[in-house]
Each structure stands twice: as C-alpha cells, then as structure tokens.
C-alpha cells in the first residue's frame, strides 16, 4: 500500500464534506440493490409458493385447471389423505428419532476423537484425521451394497438402529475435523492450568473443553440435523418396513402410491419440508457460522 493511498484511506474515513454526494450515491445504489434483489428473491421462492398452492387445492381443481394454475379452491384433502393413508405421522416420528439420536451420537463421538487428536501426541494423528475426513467425502454409492449386507449380517437390518449407526459412521469425519480445528484454537494455557490443578482427562474434556466448544457444536448440530433429516439413500438401503421409514423415504412411497394425485404428493412434500425449515429459522445464525467454522481457512 503506497503512502498516498494510506493517507487517502485514513482521510476517507474521516470525511466530512463529500457526505451529501456519497449519501445520494448510496441511496441510488440501494435502489439498484433492492430493485434487483426483491424480484430475485420472489423468483427464488416461486417453487415454494406454487407447491403450497397445489397442496391446498382440491383434486378436482387440479384436474380441471391444470397443475400450474392459480388456486380456485381451498381444501385440506391432500393433508388429510397424507396423514390417514400415507403414514406420514409415523414417519415424522421416525425421522425425529433418527435425527436426534444421530446428531447427538455423532457430535459426542466426534468431540471425543477431536479431543484426543488435538491434545495428545497420538501417532499418525494427522493421517488419522485426514483419513476420517476422507471417509465423509466418499461417494455413498460405493457403500450401499456392502453396508446393507453388513447390517444384514449383524442382524440389525431393517431397524432404525442400523440407520442411526450408518449415518453416524458416515458423518463422523467432517465433524471430527471441524471440532479438531476448533479445539486446537483453544489456548494451551487453559489446558495446562487444568492439568496442573490435577484434573483428569475426562474432567478436562467434559468440564473445560466441551463448554468452550459450544458455538461449534451448535453450528454443527444445526447442519447435521438438516443433513440427517433429509437423507434418503441410507434409508432406502437399510430399511424395508413401511412403518419404519423416515419422512423422506415415506414421501417416495407416497409418490409411488398417489402418482396422479398431486395435491396429496404436494401436501406430503410440504410436511417433509417443515421440520428442517423450522430448525433453519430458529438457528439461522448457527447455520452460517457452522459452515464458516468448517471452511474459514
């Protein structure tokens, strides 16, 4: 940075007189900005809007006027059918069970591994960390057939337990990697002080490190919830009983059964989208920071 630029930068910050010019420029750029962003945002949510339309229309309205027409009826038939005949209620429960268990277990295990790798001189620790991360990057296709056979052999095929176990194993690498980075950033003094105080390793982990990791855990938790809830391929691989399907697989079943009844399929899709949307709006901040923690390198 040249001297003149530095002085100019400092001067620019302290500015007075050119305020009016800058303000009107800012107003113009704001107009441009909103002028572009508002239509773009509206366009962006068009798919969501139309699916809501279709979900709340009656079947006859759709057959008569076409799928893309604006609604001329209001009906809850789609939703009623979805709950009474689509088994959606049960599948939502399954999804919640699987998601909560998976997220809690993965974060617990990942934090244990991250703690071990970040604070102790474990041989090949860097290699192990990268190996774990690599596991998360594999194309799942390569795992489908063997995993279903392994579950079969372990006797856990067609259980929610299998789905949880498989998803925990698959996601571990990424969470371990992120938590590892976070834990490395905690100053060594905190750690040393605890050791000097005579705290055992478990205590250090539970009482000192984990609370400090809360932001990272919240962020990863938010991300993980979305990923696990929205999974389809693992559910299709390890489950076969209808009543055990999570909502994504149940939705596929619904599509197969109610092929031409778009209001039912749309209602199902809306219901499947609501839980993650709620999590998103509640933890918005954490989603963004989660990705940032994992990638701000």
């Amino acid at each position: 940075m040249t001297v003149s630029n530095t002085i100019a930068a400092i001067a620019a910050d302290v500015r007075p007189p050119a305020v009016r010019k800058r303000v009107s420029r800012r107003a113009r750029s704001a107009a441009w900005f909103h002028g572009l962003m508002i239509p773009l945002s509206l366009l962006w949510i068009t798919p969501l809007a139309f699916i809501l339309f279709v979900a709340f229309r009656s079947f006859d309205d759709i057959s008569a006027n076409g799928l893309g027409a604006f609604p001329t009826s209001f009906s809850l038939d789609g939703f009623i059918t979805v709950f009474t005949q689509g088994g959606v209620g049960q599948s939502l429960v399954n999804s919640v069970i699987v998601t909560v268990s998976t997220v809690l277990t993965s974060l617990l295990l990942a934090s244990l591994a991250a703690f071990a790798l970040s604070r102790y001189r474990i041989p090949f620790r860097r290699g192990i960390l990268l190996l774990m991360l690599a596991g998360n990057l594999l194309p799942p296709q390569i795992l489908l057939i063997p995993v279903s056979r392994i579950c079969e052999a372990l006797g856990i095929y067609d259980t929610l337990f299998a789905l949880i176990v498989v998803q925990v194993a698959f996601g571990l690498g990424f969470y371990t990697f992120v938590l590892h980075g976070f834990m490395r950033a905690i100053p060594g003094e905190v750690f040393e002080a605890a050791v000097v105080d005579g705290a055992g390793d478990l205590r250090i982990y539970a009482r000192i490190i984990m609370p400090l990791c809360r932001p990272a855990l919240a962020a990863l938790g938010a991300l993980a919830t979305t990923w696990v809830f929205n999974d389809l391929i693992w559910a299709m691989t390890v489950l076969r009983t209808e009543t055990k399907f999570p909502i994504t697989a149940a939705l596929l079943n619904l599509q197969g059964g109610f092929v031409s009844q778009w209001n039912v399929v749309a209602a199902g899709a809306v219901i499947a989208a609501i839980p993650t949307a709620i999590v998103f709006f509640a933890f918005q901040k954490h989603f963004v920071s989660g990705l940032m923690v994992g990638s701000s390198k």
Partner: protein, 427 residues
C-alpha cells in the same frame, strides 16, 4: 519408557484390528446369504408392492379378516423391485411377498429362495382346482410349485361407451378400421390414444407386445423374448412399421404421464382410447366405471391365431421363513375363493379371480366380457417383463420411448436394442 508403551499400544491396536477384521470378514459381501431363518413364530410379515390406494386398502382389509396375526408392509413397486433380492436373501425375510409369475419367480426358485408350496396344489389344497395353465405358470423348473396366483387381468383398448356414442364411433374390428377411427377422432380435435410412458415406460411395451402378437404370432413373440430371434429382424421391423402408424395419434403429453395420470384425459373426454390392463378401472372415478368398455386390439393378419396378454399376479413365500406352517396357511387363505372375491370387490379393479369357485356371475358386465375374451382366445402370454426379465424390460423401455420420440431412427434403435438385449441374455 514412552516408546515401549506406545509400541505395546500399537500391538494392542493391531491385534484388535485383526480380530475385528476377521469378524467382519465373515460378513464379507459375496459369499452367499446367511443360512437358516431365525424368525420366531408370531406375526407373519406380508411384504406388498401394491401401493395404489385401492388395492392397498383391499389387501389391508383382507389381512385384517385373517384369523392369524399378519403385519402388512407396503413399499412402492420400484423400491420393492430394487430390494426384492435383499428381502429373499436376508436372514429374517418377509414370509409372504406379492409378486407375479414369470422369469423373476423362476430365477429365485432356481436359487432355492422360494418356499415349496406344492402342498397347496395337491388335491385338497387351496389351489387344487385352479386351471392347469395356471399350475404350469406357477411351477419352477424343478417341477415344484413356488407361486400362488390369486388374480389376473386382461389387456385391451379401453374407452368410454358414452364418449364413443357422442362421437359416433363404433368398436373397430380390423386394423384399417381402427386407423380410420383414429383419423376421425383426430379431425374432431380429440386425441385418439392416451398413454403414460413417463415414470411408467413399460406401458409402451403394451403396444409392442400386441402388435408382435398380431403380426407375428405368439410363438414368435415368446421366442423373441427368450433370445431366439433378433430385435433387428424383418419381423420386428414389420411390427415397428405398424407402431409408427399409431404414433401420430398418441397424446403428445404421453411422455410426461405415468399410466395413472394418462387416465385423466380419458375420463375427461379429451382422449378416446387407452391400451392398458383391466386394472385401469382402479383409477377411474367410481361413478364412471360402468361407462367403461373395451375391445381387443384389432386383427392385422387374419391368418395369425388370436392371442391376448393376461398377466397373473399373486404371492410367493420365502424359503427361509421361520414359520412354514403359518405361511402356508396364510397363502391358502389368500388363495381361497372368498378372499379373492373380497379383494377384487374392495380394490375396485376389474381383475379376475384365479379360483374357479368364485362366482363371477355377480361381477360387472365388463369383467364378464374379459372372462369371455380370455376363454375364447387361442394363446395367452403374460407381458414383456414377465415373459422375459426386468433387465430386458429396461432395454425395451429405452428403445420404445426413443422410438416414440424419433420414429425415423428405427433402424439404429433396433440395432441398439439388439446389442443391449444380447448383453442381458449373455449375463
């Protein structure tokens, strides 16, 4: 001191890995399924692929009336098909499964995955008085029966009686008459033929099968599907020539519809005719079912003996079931005349019962007509995929949907079809 500890830790790790690896090796993929069932006697599992609302409800009610405890699992047909081999090779398989007779069943039978149900076919058994053709269909190469057929249906060109009357159309008897009817309908702005080849591309094989039956006869058709003739032969080219004749009359939106969605234009009088199975009535609004009529695909060559497609659906059971007696009992119940009757009534389908003890005189005139059609025809085939295999069906789906979009490329399409088919037969 540290190094020694670390080394011994490494040794410990290495040991665990080996042991763990050995344990997992036994779970190694590709060494054949785990042996023996372990299912406790208790509720039986019926894994069903009947995911359309009406048949699903019908099966559920039939199962509820059964004296034993049965868990009904319904999975969309595509997923069912994808997981079928996993079901059958699992160590705790479903006891009874819905499926159809044909190559798939025989394939699994030859791998000893299907329960021998010959007892049901012996005198006194539930299937004892079924027609011999059905028994032949349910018998595996080993000579044992492995399938219990419970309903079958015919294929035909379905239409609405009132619509035909309104447009002044009568059912055509010959191919030329049929094309003339299509012309007349098209000039009135009505789409003569509806089809759904989007997410259900196998519908396109319906026309292929029938044209092959009408042009070349049932024997050629069976041999073609068994790999004894080439798809690139003059006979098949002849079939495609006739197929090309009806392409201009097919609803242009057909590639976007499933077979169920294609019923809508028919019901709304926007389309006139639909070559499909009798199960189509499931998707017709109840108040219009009585208005539905059909006619057989018209004769093209009067020297070829008549033939119809009559796919047969039913159940088979897993050889590894933990409760053989219960399973056979359930199968006998499902094959019983009363059960068949209840199922057909509740599922709103126009399917036909396999048991001759079911009183069909109470069935609708449409169904009576179907019974008569099948009784009077000389030859009966199943359907493309049931007579050959799902793998060959995939090749047909690709070839026929491409042909429907680009009929001019028929030579290269048939060549590619033959190449793909050869790969299937060689496998």
């Amino acid at each position: 001191m540290n190094d020694r500890i670390t080394l011994s830790r490494r040794g410990f790790l290495a040991g665990t890995t080996v042991i763990g690896g050995a344990a997992l090796l036994s779970a190694c993929v590709g060494t054949g399924g785990a042996a023996g069932g372990g299912g406790a006697s208790g509720a039986l599992t019926l894994q069903s692929s009947l995911s359309d609302p009406a048949p699903k409800a019908a099966l559920a009610s039939v199962v509820k009336s059964y004296k034993g405890k049965v868990t009904l699992n319904t999975v969309a047909i595509e997923q069912f098909r994808a997981q079928l081999s996993t079901y059958l090779t699992s160590s705790a398989p479903p006891d009874v499964l819905t499926w159809y007779a044909g190559s798939v069943a025989n394939d699994y039978a030859s791998k000893d995955l299907l329960l021998d149900v010959s007892d049901l076919w012996k005198s006194g058994g539930a299937c004892a008085n079924f027609p011999p053709a059905l028994k032949a269909l349910s018998t595996a190469a080993s000579g044992k029966q492995i399938f219990v057929p419970t309903n079958y249906y015919w294929w035909g060109i379905f239409h609405k009686k009132s619509a035909f009357a309104e447009w002044g159309i009568t059912q055509p008897k010959t191919w030329d008459e049929f094309l003339a009817v299509c012309d007349k309908l098209k000039s009135k702005g009505i789409s003569p033929l509806t089809m759904g080849t989007g997410s259900t591309p196998w519908v396109a094989s319906g026309w292929f099968d029938y044209l092959d039956l009408r042009v070349n006869g049932a024997t050629f058709h069976r041999e073609l599907l068994a790999g004894k003739h080439s798809f690139d032969s003059t006979e098949v080219r002849n079939v495609m020539k006739h197929y090309a004749e009806i392409l201009p009359f097919i609803d242009p939106n057909a590639p976007s519809y499933s077979w169920q969605e294609a019923v809508t234009p028919l019901v709304q009088n926007k389309s006139a005719m639909y070559l499909i199975g009798a199960f189509v009535t499931q998707s017709v609004p109840t108040e219009q079912v009585d208005d539905i009529d059909f006619f057989s695909v018209p004769t093209i060559d009067s020297s070829i003996p008549s033939a119809e497609e009559a796919p047969t659906d039913g159940y088979f059971a897993s050889a590894k079931t933990g409760n053989k007696k219960g399973t056979l009992d359930l199968l006998a119940y499902l094959a019983a005349p009363k059960t068949q009757q209840d199922f057909i009534a509740t599922s709103k389908s126009s399917n036909l019962p396999t048991s001759p003890d079911v009183n069909t005189s109470g069935f609708s005139p449409l169904v009576q007509k179907g019974v008569k059609l099948l009784a009077e025809t000389k030859e009966i085939t199943q359907f493309f995929n049931r007579d050959s295999s799902d793998a060959l069906q995939t090749t047909a789906d690709t070839a026929l949907t491409k042909f429907m979009a680009q009929p001019g490329d028929v030579s290269s399409i048939l060549k590619d079809w033959q190449t793909a088919a050869e790969k299937v037969w060689k496998a």
